[in-house]
C-alpha cells in the first residue's frame, strides 16, 4: 500500500511521518498546492505549524487545494490520519468533531505520554489490544480537546473516543482525557501525540507509534482481499 503525507508551508513532521509510513509500506509527500493524491491508499496530515498557525491552528490549511481532494477522499471512505497540527486541520475541516484549544498550562509542552486504547476495533488501532497502554511523545501548545457534552455522548456511543491519556498524563486539559478521536464512520482519525516519533526504541523510547501505521496497512490490505 502507499501512504501520502501532506506538506504545508510550516509543516515540520512530514519527514518523520514519511519514514514511519515507509516502515510498513510505500510513502510519498503530497504538496499543499496540488490537488492530485497520486493514487495513494491512505493520507497522513502531519504535525507542525501549517501557515504559521495564523488565526487558529489549522484554520488556513483547511482551505489548501490539496485539502479539497483529501475531503473528497475521506467522504469516499479513504483512511485519513491527522497528527497534532494535522488533527487540528481535520477538526477545522469538520472531518472530525470538536476543536483543539490552548493547553490549560498555557505552555508549549514536550513530553512522553502514556495513552490507553479505548477502541481496538477501529481502522487505526486494530493492531492494538483493548486497554493497551502506548508510550508516545506529545509536543504542542494547542492540544486541549473540546467538544460539547451532547457531541461527546454521541461519540462515546459510536466508539469514536479511541485513545485517552492515562491517569496523570493529561497535561493539556483535554475533556475526559481524550487524546485521539475518529469520525462516526471510523475512516478519519486524529490524535495530538506523535506516533511517527515513536517508531524505534533507540530514539523514540518506544516503537508503539508503529502500531497506528501498521493498523492502517492491515485495514487497507484487508479491504483488498
Amino acid at each position: 500500500m502507499k501512504f501520502g503525507v501532506l506538506q504545508f508551508p510550516g509543516s515540520c513532521d512530514e519527514i518523520d511521518a514519511l519514514n514511519a509510513a515507509k516502515r510498513v509500506g510505500d510513502a510519498e509527500l503530497l504538496w499543499h498546492g496540488d490537488r492530485d493524491l497520486k493514487g495513494v491508499d491512505a493520507i497522513v496530515v502531519p504535525g507542525g505549524f501549517s501557515y504559521g498557525d495564523y488565526l487558529r491552528a489549522g484554520a488556513i490549511a483547511r482551505f489548501a487545494p490539496i485539502m479539497e481532494s483529501v475531503i473528497d477522499f475521506a467522504n469516499d471512505g479513504g483512511l485519513v490520519l491527522g497528527i497534532c497540527n494535522g488533527f487540528q486541520v481535520l477538526c477545522e475541516a469538520r472531518l472530525l468533531p470538536g476543536a483543539l484549544l490552548g493547553n490549560i498550562n498555557r505552555r508549549f509542552t514536550f513530553r512522553q505520554v502514556g495513552l490507553e486504547v479505548l477502541n481496538s476495533g477501529g481502522s487505526f488501532t486494530h493492531g492494538c489490544a483493548l486497554g493497551e497502554r502506548l508510550s508516545i511523545p506529545a509536543k504542542h501548545s494547542w492540544g486541549r480537546y473540546y467538544a460539547d457534552a451532547q457531541t461527546l455522548a454521541a461519540m462515546d456511543r459510536a466508539g469514536q473516543l479511541v485513545l485517552r491519556y492515562a491517569a496523570g498524563e493529561n497535561f493539556n486539559g483535554s475533556v475526559h482525557d481524550i487524546a485521539g478521536v475518529s469520525n462516526e464512520r471510523g475512516n478519519v482519525f486524529g490524535l495530538m501525540p506523535h506516533p511517527e516519533h515513536a517508531i524505534d526504541e533507540l530514539v523514540g523510547g518506544s516503537s508503539d507509534g508503529l502500531k497506528i501505521f501498521e493498523s492502517m496497512r492491515l485495514t487497507v490490505e484487508g479491504a483488498r482481499v
Binding site: L55, A59, G102, Y146, D148
Partner: protein, 75 residues
C-alpha cells in the same frame, strides 16, 4: 468600503487559561476588584459588502464551536 471590527471571544463556559492568567496578574500589580477576564481576538477589515461578514466569521474568522463573535460596523 465599510470599516468593520470583528470581536472574537471564547464561548462562555469554556475555560480560558489566558483570561485566568491575566485575572491573577492584575491583583499582583495592585489592581483590585477585577473579575471575569477573557482574552479574545480583534479582526479589523474593510469590506464592500458587510452582509458577507457573518459568513466570513462562520467559515474562517471564528470557530463557532468554541468562540462567539460580534460584528461592529463603523461609520
Amino acid at each position: 468600503m465599510m470599516r468593520a471590527r470583528v470581536l472574537i471571544r471564547p464561548k462562555a463556559g469554556i475555560l480560558d487559561p489566558q483570561g485566568v492568567a491575566v485575572e491573577r496578574a492584575l491583583p499582583a500589580l495592585g489592581f483590585a476588584g477585577v473579575a471575569n477576564v477573557h482574552v479574545g481576538r480583534l479582526v479589523e477589515l474593510d469590506v464592500e459588502d458587510p452582509a458577507q461578514l457573518e459568513s466570513m466569521c462562520e467559515k474562517l474568522l471564528a470557530n463557532p464551536l468554541v468562540e462567539d463573535y460580534e460584528i461592529v460596523l463603523e461609520g
